[in-house]
């Protein structure tokens, strides 16, 4: 579904520096931000077999990404490039309160 011919697939990698890992507050911020984009966005903990919809808070929570793990992001669609950049920035800056 992500390889749909709507242009490029953009990717990014970022280390999760949040002290307790991907928990409720960061997960809510991440999904809120992802939903601002048209693009289909998926994330996974580096090396995990499955990609996860970045717009589903239940699935992001279930991913159970731990502190210090690397998050891979990929997106396709009209604003995919901006989406990846925004999510990388959000995670790299440790989910600041004004980001969403």
């Amino acid at each position: 579904m992500l390889d749909k011919a709507d242009g490029h697939i953009f990717t990014g990698n970022v280390r999760l520096v949040h002290a307790v890992g991907m928990h409720a507050r960061p997960a809510v911020k991440l999904t809120k931000l992802a939903k601002r984009f048209q693009a289909q966005i998926s994330v996974r903990v580096a090396g995990a077999p499955e990609w996860i919809n970045a717009k589903s808070v239940a699935k992001i929570m279930a991913m159970r990404a731990a502190h210090g793990s690397t998050i891979e992001i990929k997106a396709s669609g009209s604003d995919a490039e901006a989406a990846v950049a925004a999510l990388v920035n959000l995670i790299a800056t440790d989910f600041p309160d004004e980001a969403s």
């Binding site: 307790v20 890992g21 928990h23 409720a24 507050r25 997960a27 809510v28 999904t31 809120k32 919809n53 717009k55 589903s56 808070v57 239940a58 699935k59 929570m61 279930a62 159970r64």
Partner: protein
Amino acid sequence: MQGSAAGLAYRGRTASIGFAHGPFVRVDVDTKDARVAGTLVEEALALRNAIDVASRQIADLAEMAGGEAAQILEFQVALLDDEDFLEAIFAAIGEGDAADVAWRSALDGQIADYDSAEDEYLKARSSDLADLRDRVINILRGGEGQAPKIPGGSVICADDLPPSRFLEIDWSAGGGLALLRGSPTSHVAMLARARGIPMVVQLGTIPDVGATALLDGEGATLELDPSAEQLRLFEARRESHRKSRASARAILRRPTASWRGERIRLLINIQSVDDLAHADAQYADGIGLMRTEFLLTDRGGLPDEEAQFGAYDAVLRWADRRPVTIRTFDAGGDKPVPGFTMDGEANPFLGVRGLRLCLARPEIFAVQLRALARAAVRGNLKVMFPMVTSADELEAGRKLFADIVQRLQAEGVAAMLPELGIMVEVPAAALAVATFKAAFFSIGSNDLAQYVLACDRSNGALAPLMDPLHPAVLELIARTAEHGRRAAVSVSLCGDMASDPRCLPALLNCGLRELSVNPSALAQIKQTIDRLSGGGGLG
């Protein structure tokens, strides 16, 4: 006089004695009955609407709360806005599930998943999910949302009240319970008696107004907005009740109860460590029944091994050398536990409950057995299984337990297999009592009577038929006691009959010499045995 309840008195049936004078609070309770489901489309729309309403409610709450609380609530809003998550629920509705059933099962799945996590942060989120689950279900059932705050010491009036709601109410400042329907043999009545909360049931219709109320659990009356004269009479009754209790308590200090020269052992029923705080508890000969299903209803999901071990160990330490009989989880029937009991049973009293449920859910049962095996080395512990029908079930439970003890010992953990007994509450078990290789028997007269008499004990309309002194019930009690005497196995009775002075002559005549009663009834029962022994009446 229209619209005023001043000075009016209503009479019901006694469910728990005691007196309460406080604010009158009406509680509208969502009944446990399932909704009537509509068509597939109606169900999908109903859920969509309930989700919208819940979303708005939570957003409002978040705005009021602000700060940290708002961020926590945001997670609930985000979940309600998660199309991936909702998709599976709507798919289940499309396949014929009712809206509330589909919603509950999805949320229960998530909760179980979070509860099983290693991570404390994730575990803590499961109570948010339980909150969200209940809010949406409440809306689906036409309820409001959150329960209103009830002032301490209130006389709470409801149509009927499920046990979970009773436990949610803060009774630390006293208060009382007045039910328009309800039954003295229901589970919530047992809870009220154990906590010493006065309760009157089957009050019928009473007006919706009234600021203060007097509830007399003994006279089974409710008086609204009482006059000075009513209040004076009420206080006089309360005082005379207090005096008669004081004289009964003097009897407690005497060492043992005896009847016709035979020692009668009087133990107590408890459901948590807190119940041991009752002033009379110290005079008991031990604990005849410690219920454990109340560990299950705490908001944080199923209790882990350490939490259970802590509770069992505290009770054993309190008891010192006295015996403590702990009953394994008796969930199901009128005690549903989300994530544990079976949903949608047509007849839960005859369903997968008690030991049946534990054997069907060995992963949950094993945690309890581990905690019990570890506690067994700490005191005089006996363990009994509830709702046992055949000897094979006892043996299956024993095998699970023995395996767990072996594993613990192999891990180097101090553990042992305690004495194992069964509740006699299924008529088949009473009739075939000799087939059970049990170290002891404890007669659960509430359920035994309900099954023998074919009367749902929570159905108030059957109260006149629900007579524990029916000869058929007494016959089964006598047979069980007789078997115990012949096989030299102890037999006790831990149902409400034991706490009811009117039942005592019959129980003693059936051959029972061991009774387990509510802590608040201990003094009165000991006093009654004393009188009976002296040839006196019930007084």
